[in-house]
Subunit: 245 residues, 2 copies
DNA sequence: CGATCGATTGATTTTTGTCAAAGACGGTGG
DNA sequence: CCACCGTCTTTGACAAAAATCAATCGATCG
């Protein structure tokens, strides 16, 4: 009661992030700036690199990814986005993106036209929170760089699963051990920068050793501490509320 | 004449970036916000992960890096910063960083206290340019992710050299083929996520095949086109002025 | 039911890391 | 001036990690 459908849309935005949670008025302001709600089928490119952009999208439900495609058409995931993520807020200041944004699963996004964004950022407090949200993405990029640059294949998977668990938990979509994650082994491979064949072997190994089961769009972490150690995972870069970690 | 020393400080900030160049008044505003100029010896940590921050630093001269250190003390570079880069502008909204920032060479930085930053971002046009500058870092992070995730060791080096060449060129520090870059082979290794031994072999190979000479703090690119192709380099993510590319 | 997509497995090759040891070079102190 | 040192570079031999090639297998879908 008292919670309108409208009120649910930005529910998860910056949820659980250290000192950056939105005030009710700020959420209302953002929700008023929404021009439409769009539904995307799975595996659909929403934004292509280079395209001129006049609006940003906020994920209400579903999984989206940011990818860069190489000369042979092979993709590297440079980000994975969950409900509550303002997936291409950065296009507001960049005007075009140098990567693609696509849905992974069936997705619902809220569209905010850039010309309505001007009014939002006139409020310097809200502007700073929006800025913060894009800096959070950058912090995740850095964690991903560490993952790819310093960890072996199993470490990368471990790190990624810890991160995803923590992020989903922050928005109430993981209980800390088990969560839905509708990615194929090939997606995991494109995230971790290994071949899907190798990814298959790593996931089997994790399963056989009773550490973690990744299977049919469901992840269950059996030994969270072990996984965090194996992936050298430290959640500081997610800027979560001390209580929420 | 007419160009004061003061006027030189922010000279290179956002220089050559598509529609984001600073107006004289904006540069003056930033320069007035500077509280001090600091000199850093080579290889000095300026900011440690987790430290509470009350100011940001702008690089006037020198090379700095952002690094994440693993459990064994091995570092992964997650960014390299040149003169004209507002190296930790993001600390303004983040309040602490999850990575270290250190000098590579002898460096001069201009310090801008966060409480003076408030006045700068009150100007929404300037705020947007500052925001853009942090998004540029994020775009580079993504290019680095592509590099680590999809390229082999030689491709990574090629990509990195193309990027650095383009960035230095934008601020007038490369002629497009030859530039100073005071990095050790170990730095290159920490940037590209390979061992320094392997990096040594790659650099030798580039040299022997007459493609590129990386030696004693000087880089000379003999075949820019080949290097760009080998590293699948596309400068779109640097958001350079069409004329400057 | 064939077709397609994703998962799985084995055999083999390629790339990169590890270990061990010199060589080069500049700077310092005797 | 020169021997010594530390840092950076270079090289070889070998081991480990991951990629590649080639098939199956299983489930789902029209």
């Amino acid at each position: 009661m008292g919670v309108t459908i409208q009120g649910m849309i930005t529910d998860k935005f910056l949820k659980g992030r250290r000192g950056m949670t939105l005030e009710p008025a700020e959420r209302t302001a953002i929700e008023k700036a929404i021009s439409e709600i769009k539904s995307l089928p799975p595996r659909t490119v929403m934004i292509e690199a280079g395209e001129a952009l006049r609006h940003s999208a906020f994920i209400i439900d579903g999984l989206m990814c940011r990818t860069i495609t190489d000369r042979d058409g092979l993709r590297q995931f440079v980000g994975l986005h969950l409900p509550g993520d303002f997936v291409d807020l950065h296009s507001y200041a960049l005007t075009y993106l140098e990567h693609d944004i696509a849905s992974v699963t069936q997705t619902q996004v809220a569209i905010v036209p850039h010309d309505r964004m001007h009014a939002l950022v006139a409020d310097t407090t809200l502007a700073r929170k929006l800025w913060f949200s894009t800096l959070l993405d950058a912090a995740m990029h850095r964690a991903w760089l560490f993952r790819l640059g310093r960890l072996d294949a199993m470490g990368r998977v471990a790190h990624f699963l810890c991160e995803t668990n923590a992020r989903l938990r922050a928005v109430g979509l993981s209980d800390g051990r088990r969560f839905a994650l509708d990615l194929t082994q090939n997606d995991f491979a494109e995230i971790c920068g290994v071949t899907s064949i190798h990814m298959n072997r790593i996931l089997r190994q994790l399963r056989e050793e009773g550490l973690c089961v990744v299977r049919s769009s469901q992840v269950e972490i059996l030994r969270p501490d072990w996984l965090a150690a194996r992936g050298q995972f430290d959640s500081a870069y997610l800027y979560l509320d001390p209580g929420a970690v």
